[in-house]
Symmetry: C2
Subunit: 512 residues, 2 copies
């Protein structure tokens, strides 16, 4: 490593403690912590963690709701060369047990309130590996932290080390943790901070889940910019209003239903939400907030995934684009490739691959999948996209299985999207059936909208008119509903029912 040019998350905190000693870094309930205090507390915490055996390469697990301690633990991990994984607190005990066994955490910081039952069940099922600290038990987290020395800071670490683990299911069936480096977190902070106008005056309300980068990317960008992060355990519209008003929050993670609730709660305008910058909405909402004019808000679009530290593409100008998902963020490269990793021509569908500082180091404990996804020095997103004539990107859908027609590659997601654009189609799935002459041929399974009718020939024509002819279904089966596993279409069952098979690369290749 090269300390002269290094910048870890711990280094970012060190400079903030020097540059912004009295600036509020985190607000969590009654607890307000400045950047100087955050530096002291994470020094203490890192010493306490080191004393129970946490060292370079170790993992720590967070099993709780939103809390400033997630950031604190991440920064302590950064000082130690360890990593933090914030787990989804909505996981079942079984799912959590899988995570604990997969991650083998040296320390698990968990929460009694709301999630204690699942955590205790999972802990008992896995034999409670490592040290367990209940962060909401008054005699556990704070006394533990208080042991360490705040003035004895730790030495340099390599910013290429993994510091943040985030589980993602975008993999063959089983969740896997994407390992993200200091450089990934810091660079995304700088780049996303630019796109979203996040600066030292930003106050971000952490109202979305911290185990998902849609929220956490903004948390870290606010931290990198020396702004303030306000944490709320979970979404409650009135509490969000109170916090936005009291802390003058400039940003928050809000989904449509929450905005509806806020509109109801604040119909009388008793909370002043004018500090909040969001996209315009209904007139009542637009009047209540300040319309966001940051570069990426002027023409909202984007594509990303956990493995690239969140956002990979967006629009930084207001001008219209051909593609639906913007262009590569500064700092990353994107190509669209065929299954042999050759660039496909502009306008043709292929897999989106990327490289740059924000790309993960790999999946924890999944060497084969890591090698497959990062082959040739490019991260393979398992997602399909198209480079349009103006250079912008359209995200097509998950790659899932590939269908082979002679030498041509057919991506079911692309054919499905084309079929779904027919007004009579409610939903559909596309499989490949073995074909002696063409290797495979395309079969569509279609659910029609209530009261609509359409023939097989009409649907085939609809597709042929819109994408390359070899991608059109040879046959169409009409069904009442598609078989599903959870939310996902169950392609294995469709293959069984409709004679699918003969996919290139053998079973499981290319499947999510």
């Amino acid at each position: 490593m090269d300390p002269l040019h290094a910048l870890t998350l711990a280094d970012v905190l060190r400079e903030h403690a020097r540059s912004w000693p009295e600036r509020v870094a985190t607000v969590d309930g009654e607890r307000r912590i400045t950047y100087r205090e955050l530096q002291d507390r994470t020094c203490r915490l890192a010493h306490a963690l080191a004393a129970v055996g946490v060292g370079p390469g170790d993992r720590m697990l967070w099993c709780g709701q939103n809390s400033a301690r997630v950031l604190e633990l991440l920064l302590a991990a950064a000082k130690l060369g360890a990593a933090l994984c914030p787990a989804n607190w909505r996981l079942s005990a079984d799912e959590l047990a899988f995570v604990i066994e997969d991650l083998e955490p040296a320390v698990t910081v968990w929460q009694e309130e709301e999630v204690g039952d699942a955590v205790r069940t999972a802990r008992d099922a896995t034999g409670a590996p490592g040290r367990w600290i209940a962060h909401d038990a008054p005699d556990e987290y704070e006394p533990f932290l208080a042991q360490g020395d705040p003035d004895d800071d730790f030495g340099d670490r390599d910013p290429a080390e993994s510091v943040l683990f985030v589980y993602t299911s975008a993999w063959s069936g089983q969740p896997a943790a994407a390992m993200l480096s200091h450089t990934a977190v810091v660079t995304q902070g700088l780049v996303f901070g630019r796109a979203a106008d996040i600066g030292p005056e930003s106050v971000y309300l952490n109202s979305g889940p911290l185990f998902h980068l849609a929220t956490a990317m903004q948390t870290f960008a606010t931290f990198v910019a020396a702004g303030a992060n306000v944490f709320t355990r979970r979404v409650d519209a009135e509490e969000l209003c109170r916090l936005i008003d009291a802390e003058r929050c400039t940003g928050a993670f809000l989904v449509g239903p929450t905005i509806k609730q806020i509109l109801a709660v604040n119909a009388d305008g008793r909370f002043d939400l004018k500090s909040l910058r969001t996209p315009a909405g209904k007139p009542a909402w637009t009047e209540m907030i300040t319309v966001d004019t940051s570069p990426m808000a002027r023409n909202p679009a984007g594509y990303g995934q956990t493995e690239v530290m969140g956002l990979l593409t967006t629009n930084l100008t207001a001008e219209p684009t051909v593609g639906t998902n913007g262009r590569a963020l500064p700092g990353v490269q994107i190509r669209i490739v065929d299954p042999d990793d050759r660039d496909v021509p502009d306008g043709e569908t292929g897999e989106i691959v990327a490289r740059g500082a924000t790309v993960m180091n790999g999946y924890w404990n999944r060497p084969d999948e890591t090698a497959r996804r990062l082959r040739g020095g490019w991260h393979h997103t398992n997602d399909l996209g198209r480079r349009e004539v103006d250079g912008s990107i359209s995200f097509i859908g998950p790659k899932a299985r590939l269908i082979k027609s002679a030498t041509e590659n057919i991506y079911p997601a692309e054919v499905e999207a084309t079929l779904a654009s027919h007004p009579a189609v409610a939903e559909c799935a596309v499989i490949g059936t073995p074909d002696r002459q063409w290797t495979q041929s395309v079969k569509a399974i279609v659910v029609l909208r209530d009261g609509e009718t359409v023939t097989e020939a009409e649907l085939v024509a609809h597709v042929r008119e819109r994408i390359a002819s070899y991608k059109k279904p040879r046959t169409v089966a009409f069904v009442d509903r598609l078989p599903r596993v959870g939310f996902a279409v169950d392609y294995d069952t469709l293959d069984e029912q409709f004679g699918g098979g003969g996919y290139p690369g053998g079973p499981g290749v290319g499947a999510r």
Copy 2:
């Protein structure tokens, strides 16, 4: 190196060619070049340069005025693993000969117009090492470039490699070239681009010297953001007006006298300069342009140097600061240290040291000075500063020589700045004289303003009231003028005339 996470200047260009194929990258006279064309041209150029022997680690020299070819050559160097040094075109033939002998360029691209005489004299004096190409001779640069293959791109390079060399005199007497990496250029592009609101819609008028980072930092930030760079050979107020109007330039490098000329040239408003964002000025200027509202324009301040890729500190908020020079830019760390590299307490003066992605790799051909300046993994700026109580930084002045009074360090620049704040003092210099009891004592040499008088005792009291007592001069000598070498005060002559000596660390240590 790690291709998955790498981003060289060549990679930035590759992605721009994919994402913004039809976007104008450079405008230079009649020649407008899109990002796709720039990718083709730099591929060609890199092949042509490789064919005359330019390879990894080689240097190329630019001896001309502003031109889009500076960016083109830098990007070709980036593909080859070589570096480009844009020389100061105002150098004398002797100074240029020094640069040629120091740099040993594999290729020198030079300009006949205006600078041809000096270049030819220097070339002949140095035996014309390497290949020489006159960029303004119709049968040289363009036919040379045209030989290469635009479709055969080069392989991955390590972004930690030096790609840009910039000579700086901030070193013991002799100029030295600071070696700046791809990462330094790209990171400063992202960070400065954020501070100055540079995006894909930015159009930067390169009207300042490209051999100085004050201009070049903005050039590269505009390139990194996929904006357009407009080049003008040298400053001509009417031509600048024409270009701003015609190209809708959003930024330009303008000094006070140029603004005065523009106000005169455009008094009748025949050029529309409203696209240009600059700080507010006289009412006539403020009406002519658009007032810059970028983060760093709201409370202008800054400190930097060539060795850190330009800017190191600025204000990103409008709020007042105690320090005069803002805070560390995101991505760098700053400390204020004593001569033994220990942190001095806040509020005390010491040397500004920095680390981060924008710090140079070292000085070309100066291993000893490089080791001294980069010792302990921190770049020593040779500049004095102070960390104020709110964490902001005040730049005090060049470190120059250190005076030792018992165990205390006294920086002449700090004492000189305090003396100069007295209304009777026109200019002054401070030296150390040997002192048996205290190692050294402080002596001030002062030039008074015309018609002003002041006594030694009054000046000593003026200093004692403002900074630590041990820093005050023991004696003051009044002179008519200070001896100088060029612009710089000649401290060696002052030492001789006024009995200076006994400096810690031996001769030359700490001198600029």
